[in-house]
């Protein structure tokens, strides 16, 4: 993997980023309605003032250039709906919360998923396989808005071990991260099982056995690396998705994260927030996939980027 390749990959990000900015900008503007249209009628004079304040009375091309100029300075603009708050402020406040929740959930998911999948792959078609894999199916099928309330009911209300909502103490972190991580754990366990099963049918595993290696050596030294490659590939989009897509979990547990801004801004036509969150999501996807590709090349010596 050459430095040239790494720089090239990053350089590609610039035109794609520009494309995303342009597309999202015009798509959201062309969507019917606007930030100031609501059931309550606003007097024409106030509306005019509002539009002037946010430069909405200018032609669209000027607004676009204006936005690009601010963006180059790292300014994502003021929110149209949250008075006196800029998009930068909103992201600066909510991103760390979402990042923490997301990383915690993914850590759970990796630990549980790899253990369960590994067990299933080592003892296929036994209860060590069937029980975790049934849970995995359940985890993939059950939506967060079912898992969350059930966990709250059991551990928060009945057993009273953990708080039902909030984001203050470490105890507050447990239920939301489990809720959010459950589906990811399920998916990772299936990927782990599939990856390991495939590796363990390879000829080189027979070679390792023929050499007299113990089963644990065969698993740790010869199987894990190749067997976990599907999980690594999945982690890139999963990380970006888990950080930005936790709306339901955040709502259930009343967590001040990013998720709600994604939905709320699109519904409210809060143009700048839509832009901000979209660009954030794009950047996360790009960076995560980039990291995964680097990691992949480190794990599989046959992969060469030139």
């Amino acid at each position: 993997m050459s430095l040239k390749y790494l720089l090239g990959r990053l350089a590609v990000m610039v035109p794609v980023f520009f494309l995303v900015v342009t597309l999202v900008f015009f798509m959201i503007r062309f969507a019917p309605g606007g930030p100031f249209s609501s059931e309550k009628s606003v007097s024409p004079a106030i509306l005019k003032n509002l539009e002037a304040k946010y430069h909405m009375d200018e032609p669209l091309s000027r607004q676009y250039l204006h936005y690009l100029k601010d963006l180059l300075h790292g300014d994502l603009g003021p929110s149209f709906k949250h008075a006196n708050r800029t998009v930068n402020e909103i992201i600066a406040e909510a991103l760390p919360v979402s990042l923490e929740l997301g990383l915690l959930s993914l850590t759970w998911a990796l630990m549980i998923g790899i253990c369960a999948g590994g067990l299933a792959a080592l003892k296929p078609n036994t209860s060590w396989d069937y029980i975790p894999m049934s849970f995995a199916i359940l985890g993939i099928c059950l939506p967060t808005f079912v898992v969350g309330p059930v966990l709250v009911l059991v551990f928060g209300v009945w057993l009273q071990w953990l708080p039902v909502a909030g984001w203050e103490s470490w105890q507050d972190r447990v239920l939301p991260s489990l809720t959010l991580g459950f589906a990811y754990a399920a998916y990772i366990s299936r990927l782990t099982r599939g990856g390991l099963m495939e590796i363990r049918m390879q000829d080189f595993i027979r070679t390792a056995r023929a050499k007299g290696l113990s089963e644990s050596d065969i698993l740790l030294k010869h199987s894990l690396r190749g067997g976990l490659l599907p999980v690594i590939s999945y982690l890139g989009p999963a990380l970006a998705g888990i950080i930005t897509g936790a709306l339901v979990t955040e709502t259930i547990f009343n967590i001040p994260g990013l998720g709600r801004f994604f939905i709320e801004s699109a519904v409210n036509r809060d143009y700048t927030v839509v832009m901000g969150t979209s660009l954030l999501y794009f950047t996360l996807i790009f960076v995560c996939n980039f990291l995964v590709d680097i990691f992949y090349a480190l794990l599989d010596p046959r992969v060469k980027y030139v």
Binding site: L213, D300, P301, R302
Partner: protein, 324 residues
């Protein structure tokens, strides 16, 4: 002299949904120290399965070994625990495979894989094992061995990878090397090189080489003794000359006749008519019955007892005299 490896009435069955596939149906033969024994047979004759079965390199289930004994010195390998067998497999008995392209781990360097037998079986320190493994690579004719140790398998050609496999199987100086069609996947020129290498190593180390092959040319080139297998049974055993020039088994003869030869001007290469039998429906008779031109009713009823010839030449056939 006592055999180093002695297979006695070994059976290996696969339990599948379609029924029990009797891949190996009671075979016996001995391997003596310092000799090269070729096990010859068509695909599906059970020549590989018989080795892989007692070394426990096949998934079980579906594989079951309903009967037999396999002695390494005085130990019955079939009675050992997995841990006990692991101490012999990869140390005293090593193996190389048909598929050099896929038999090495693509995620690990050649060196990391080469040192494993020494580290596991001889408890050598990694640095010491690394030196020994580098020497083993040099011995199998890999130039610049210390660089090769740090390379990954995909950086080598098929022939080179097979050399690496051979080096790996030799690091512990085994008493028995089982080579399962080691040249089948290679180019003809490379085949000859690998065979020469095996031949010279066998001589130098005085180890026993058990060569599984379907290539009679390979047999003639390298083997001292030959075992002919068909449909899970042994048909004939003997020295190379016994098999090539004095064979008294209809199957061996048919096999030899259907081998292309440069010193014979065949307009049409003879073939054995018919197909190999379905190993699920196989009965107690001779499995070659359907295709044999000497067959009698007795052949269908029971598998023959051994007939002893001169100097250890053995054949399993009801027919008294087979004209060649």
């Amino acid at each position: 002299m006592n055999p180093i490896l002695s297979i006695k009435n070994l059976q290996a069955h696969f339990h599948t949904r379609r029924g029990v596939v009797k891949a190996v149906n009671g075979i016996s033969y001995d391997l003596f120290p310092g000799e090269t024994l070729a096990v010859v047979g068509e695909s599906g004759s059970g020549k590989s399965v018989s080795q892989l079965s007692y070394l426990r390199l096949l998934a079980s289930p579906p594989l079951k070994i309903p009967g037999g004994q396999v002695f390494y010195r005085d130990k019955d390998l079939l009675k050992l625990s997995d841990a006990e067998l692991r101490k012999i497999r990869g140390d005293k008995i090593t193996m190389i495979f048909q598929e050099p392209m896929t038999s090495l781990n693509p995620y690990l360097t050649v060196g990391a894989q080469l040192i494993e037998p020494l580290v596991i079986h001889r408890k050598k320190a990694k640095s010491e094992a690394w030196q020994a493994a580098t020497a083993a690579l040099e011995r199998v004719g890999i130039s610049n061995a210390s660089n090769a140790m740090k390379a990954y398998p995909h950086e080598f050609s098929g022939g080179m990878r097979q050399r690496v496999m051979i080096a790996m199987a030799l690091t512990t100086e085994p008493e028995v090397l089982i080579a399962d069609e080691p040249t089948t996947a290679l180019d003809v020129t490379v085949q000859a090189q690998i065979l020469d290498l095996l031949k010279s190593i066998q001589k130098e180390n005085k180890m026993a080489l058990l060569l599984i092959t379907h290539d009679l040319g390979v047999v003639a080139n390298i083997a001292h003794k030959v075992v002919v297998m068909y449909a899970g049974r042994v048909f004939e055993k003997g020295s190379v000359d016994d098999i090539f020039y004095r064979s008294e088994h209809p199957y061996t003869q048919a096999l030899l006749k259907s081998t292309p030869r440069v010193d014979r001007d065949d307009k049409i290469l003879p073939a054995i008519s018919g197909n190999t039998p379905d190993l699920i429906q196989i009965g107690s008779g001779c499995p070659f019955y359907e295709r044999c031109s000497y067959r009698t009713d007795l052949c269908q009823a029971e598998f023959p007892q051994v007939r002893l010839g001169l100097k250890g030449h053995e054949r399993y056939c009801h027919v008294e005299k087979v004209s060649s």
